[in-house]
């Protein structure tokens, strides 16, 4: 069955300045401004938010799930996995705690 609703917009939410925008869901809306208006109440009201993006879902170019093997490692490459980002976050959290 074809989708008879308005276009889908993907919604991205930023909890504080400098943090990455995180995908929080999607909504139907007739245009971008209305999408932002409605997204604010759908996704902005239950958590802190300083900035919101909406992106037409059709603008997203994605891989296919059948190609998920593209991302698999044939050999052990754990030495280059981006665990450092998480470590940085944990270190920052400890630092923030100690400031208090």
């Amino acid at each position: 069955m074809s989708d008879t609703q308005w276009p889908v917009y993907e919604v991205f939410h930023q909890a504080s300045r400098g943090e990455p925008h995180v995908h929080v869901g999607s909504i139907h809306a007739p245009d971008g401004d209305t999408a932002l208006l409605l997204a604010k109440e759908q996704f902005g009201r239950r958590q802190a938010c300083v900035n919101m993006w909406v992106v037409p879902a059709e603008a997203i170019i994605a891989t296919e799930y059948e190609d998920a093997d593209l991302f698999e490692h044939g050999t052990d490459k754990s030495y280059r996995e981006a665990f450092g980002y998480e470590t940085t976050k944990r270190a920052k959290a400890v630092g923030d705690r100690e400031e208090i």
Partner: protein, 283 residues
Amino acid sequence: MTTAALAHNASTKTALIDLLYRLGDDSLIIGHRNSEWTGIGPILEEDIAFSSMAQDKIGHALAFYTLLHELGEPDPDTIAYGRGPERFRCCSLVTLDIFGDGKSAPPAALSNNPVRDRVVAQGDWAISLVRQFFFSEADAVRMAALEQSAYEPLAHLARKLRGEIKYHTLHARTLLPRLGRATAESRDRLQSAAAALYPHALGMFEPTPHDATLADAGIAPAEPELCDRWQREIAPIMDGSGLVFPPRSSPVYGGRTGKHLPELTEVLDALQKVYRLDPTAIW
């Protein structure tokens, strides 16, 4: 005068209390009216947005009633639930129902909630949207002025509510131009609502005997001045939405002195129904 002096001087205190009742009652009643759409609004996202704004307004009412309580008035629940219509000070705009011309034939009750049944059968979303437009623009003008109020608790509250009220104006400013220029039906519905509501909207600025006291004390600007500012804000938005003001509108006054339309009694019957069963019940 300082905040403490304003609260102790008999004439400024009386005027301030009257102002806070007007602000609180407008907020409570429009919040309740808008909540009548909860769960049955047009499209899911808009239902949530509109219900959320209704919640905001109930919250604003609580904040104003809390300021009243601090000035020696009853507690907020008693203020909201314990007064008859003659003691309310809201304008007629917020009390109006959303049935437009569909008043003649109430449908048979479908459930134990006759108000909801009637909204489903006959509610006109255009009335709610245009009312929200007129009201939120007035709210923004009024609260911007109150941010400078000499009564600091009120100024503080006005600053705190700024963001929510900004969203309320953005809501109508986004939807009105789109619907006003969408189809002949959407335009006609909005235009009919605007024509019917405008005299009541002018009544939001009903002058009161307290205007001069409030203005002289720096608590709030006089109503006619706020009305001028409001008209300057809404004119370009009406125009941009392809909507025109009805010619020769005279304001509907009375609400600020407790002379209300029968609709307020209907609202309060619904709003106060549970409380009246047992006013001393603990929640």
